[in-house]
């Protein structure tokens, strides 16, 4: 009895700890769990879509529900699964790689997470309140502005809230990487993962405002009777498409770039070689980020922009293939002649190269504007973006999780189960999406509820559905691995892969909450490797042992975000009944009140004293 009570209080304390934490490592856990949950929800929606398309003229779900499924699948996977999972890795790794004790703004870091989570929850509440959004993840007007019910309103409010969280997170990482690098870590000594997070954060900073503006216009059109996108009243529906894609194309690079960085670190670690062409890799990353802003209209070739605009955007789009190619070759050359170790992380990374390259190739095909009139809005496009997103982003997330799991949780994921999860997922992935290119070329349009008998599309679709089930099996094995590892595996060393090259492998797994007892001195690219080659045990400290200043935990990020969540409902339903304005005022009151509290109440953080650190060192923290 008494132990049960003690355990309960223990659980309560843990929950409170996570609700108030500003520690980047715990925020990484929060991002991972919630992103993982949304990934499973999005995966479930995908399975329902594939079951509906399993055979001709199927009626597994109704046409309306099908529209909700495809909309929520895309929206969930991009905004609520891929983005937070990337943020999980960023939070877990970047401060460690640059030798910092936390991010620049720990409070904002937590705020960014809670805004994302409440935005995501708001979006998914729509399932239970009379229908999810159903205008596609791209939410084109006028389909979206005329969609009945409140589904699209949830899309607008949910993405607005979680988008604010992402923007905050992006700015935080920019400032962190610019200002918090350990002594000696110049820009050209940053690990490639940190570099790509830097470029990604810049893209977030510049791209998300376009989405914010678009969502505001959409919100006013739907909720307050404006007519930005209403042609009948002098508006223009194309404005939404441009705003969406000015955000949307950089967004796809926001998704892939961090994983390009992760692959670079993984290839170099498991080939026991320094990354081939480091400076070319940095250059290519920056160039991709730059070009990513010049190409958005390749999603709109068929809108009728005219031959000049189409040609300009076609050429700009094809140009991106060049820096991408540079990267592919550098990864291959990194492995060339290296002592390759086929860990699960490496398996996912190697599988990424051909898979992603196929996606890039179909991308260049799509970029040929004249040809795109054939491909556009067919399954060919669906094949393309799943090859880059699953073959790049999803493979990258699996690889990164295997690679950094010991740093996040103190245990190495079981390698056997890891490889067992890989094969069904890998085979299933190619089964599902390769055939879709041909379905598209045969004329199967995307987003249609059914196809008919005698159109020659039945076999291809059946194969695709079988592949989807294999991917689901792979995912389940990965989940089993997590549980198995937590129960059975033993504690990992600081450098569990033995050939760790970057700073995160110089400190215990998982690190103490202040990360580095003493800030390390960085003497070159791959700082830990440099020390190892000099025959040293660990990093040389750059400062004497002394008190460490750390930020305090706070519940305010949670309450600020909760307020926006409540206000979100108010905005959505005040259209029906002004009484809902109460929710708007209550919610905004909570948000602004919490912000006021934060501004007026001084919070100077706390110190970890030298004596405590010496205690920890005795226990083996400093190493």
């Amino acid at each position: 009895m008494s132990t049960a009570v003690a355990q309960k209080r223990g659980l309560g304390a843990v929950i409170w700890d996570y609700l108030t934490t500003v520690d980047h490592k715990k925020i990484a856990h929060l991002y991972l769990v919630s992103g993982g949950l949304f990934f499973l929800i999005g995966g479930l929606e995908a399975m329902i879509i594939r079951i509906q398309l399993m055979k001709p003229d199927n009626d597994f779900i109704s046409a309306g529900l099908y529209n909700e499924m495809i909309t929520m699948h895309g929206t969930t996977m991009i905004f609520l699964a891929a983005m937070p999972l990337i943020f999980a890795i960023m939070n877990a790794v970047v401060p460690l790689q640059i030798g910092a004790r936390d991010v620049a703004f720990p409070f904002l870091n937590s705020l960014g997470f809670w805004l994302f989570l409440f935005g995501g929850l708001l979006l998914n509440v729509s399932w239970f309140t009379g229908g999810a959004p159903d205008a596609g993840w791209t939410n084109y007007a006028p389909l979206s502005t005329t969609s009945p019910g409140h589904g699209v309103d949830y899309y607008v409010m949910g993405l607005q809230i979680s988008g604010a969280g992402t923007l905050i997170g992006g700015i935080n990482f920019l400032v962190t990487i610019v200002n918090m690098r350990a002594p000696g870590m110049t820009y050209m000594r940053m690990p490639l993962f940190t570099w790509s997070v830097f470029v990604t954060s810049t893209l977030i900073l510049f791209a998300f405002p376009a989405l914010t503006v678009g969502l505001f216009l959409m919100m006013f059109d739907r909720m307050f009777g404006s007519a930005f996108f209403d042609v009948g009243l002098g508006g223009n529906a194309i404005i939404w498409e441009h705003l969406f894609w000015i955000f949307g194309h950089p967004e796809v690079y926001i998704l892939i770039l961090p994983l390009f960085g992760a692959f670079s670190d993984i290839f170099s670690t498991f080939s026991k070689k320094r990354l081939f062409g480091y400076s070319a890799m940095v250059f290519a990353t920056v160039l991709i980020g730059f070009l990513g802003f010049m190409v958005w209209a390749h999603h709109m070739f068929t809108v009728g922009m005219g031959p000049i605009a189409n040609s300009i955007f076609a050429v700009a789009t094809m140009a991106i293939a060049v820096p991408t190619g540079i990267k592919i070759f550098n990864w291959l050359f990194t492995m060339w002649g290296g002592q390759i170790r086929m860990t699960a992380a490496m398996l996912w990374s190697i599988a990424f190269i051909p898979s992603f390259t196929i996606g890039g190739m179909t991308g260049v095909m799509l970029a040929a504007a004249a040809a795109d009139f054939q491909y556009h809005d067919t399954y060919f496009v669906v094949g393309h973006f799943h090859y880059v997103i699953v073959g790049g982003v999803a493979f990258g997330l699996f690889a990164s999780l295997h690679y950094w799991w010991p740093k996040m949780f103190g245990k190495v994921l079981n390698e056997k189960l890891g490889k067992l999860a890989f094969w069904p997922f890998f085979i299933g992935f190619h089964l599902t999406f390769f055939i879709q290119h041909f379905l598209g070329l045969m004329g199967m349009p995307r987003r249609y509820w059914v196809f008919l008998e005698g159109q020659g599309l039945a076999t291809g679709n059946l194969i695709s559905t079988i592949g989807a089930f294999l991917m689901a099996i792979g995912t389940i094995i990965f989940l089993i691995n997590i549980v198995y590892t937590a129960v059975k595996e033993k504690k990992a060393d600081a450098d569990p892969w033995e050939h760790g090259r970057t700073l995160e492998w110089a400190i215990p797994s998982p690190p103490p909450h202040y990360n580095f007892v003493q800030t390390p001195l960085v003497r070159g690219l791959d700082p830990l490797w440099v020390e190892k080659m000099d025959g040293k045990e660990g990093m040389t400290p750059a400062e004497p042992l002394g008190d460490i200043h750390m930020p305090n935990a706070s519940i305010l990020p949670f309450t600020i975000s909760l307020g926006t969540f409540i206000a979100g409902f108010g905005f959505i339903y005040q259209v029906d009944d002004p009484i809902w304005l109460i929710a708007v005022f209550a919610g905004m009151g909570l948000t602004l009140g919490s912000m006021l509290t934060r501004s007026l109440k001084d919070d100077l953080g706390h110190h970890i004293h030298k004596e405590e650190l010496e205690e920890d060192i005795k226990k083996g923290v400093g190493k």
Binding site: T202, A207, A210, I238, I246, A297
Partner: protein
């Protein structure tokens, strides 16, 4: 801050003083110019100068004022502001691209 400069050697202190004086001069100068620009801008509107002339002139004056503000009052001309400059020009470029698109492709 104050006691930090006390601990510095004399010649260093003098150097800093000279720097500050120089800085002050520049700031007063730009402040004066900015007031002048504002008077010109208002004057042109009050005297109803031809709108083909007034609009581009106002835009140019505004851009120069923003530059003064950033470089002289917010110290972007000083060292250590390269990253800030990159970010601001990047953001301005993206915004400009958006405006060009809207004016050339959508509304043209």
């Amino acid at each position: 801050m104050a006691d930090q400069s006390h601990s510095k050697p004399i010649h260093h202190q003098e150097y800093e003083k000279k720097q500050h004086r120089e800085e002050m001069k520049q700031q007063v100068l730009t402040f004066g110019l900015m007031i002048l620009f504002t008077i010109i801008a208002f004057g042109m509107v009050i005297f109803e100068v031809n709108s083909y002339f007034i609009i581009p002139t106002l835009i140019i004056l505004a851009v120069v004022q923003v530059a003064f503000q950033l470089y002289y009052f917010m110290h972007m001309k000083n060292k250590g502001h390269d990253m800030v400059a990159v970010m601001m020009y990047g953001g301005a470029a993206v915004a400009a691209l958006t405006i060009i698109t809207f004016t050339s492709i959508i509304w043209w």
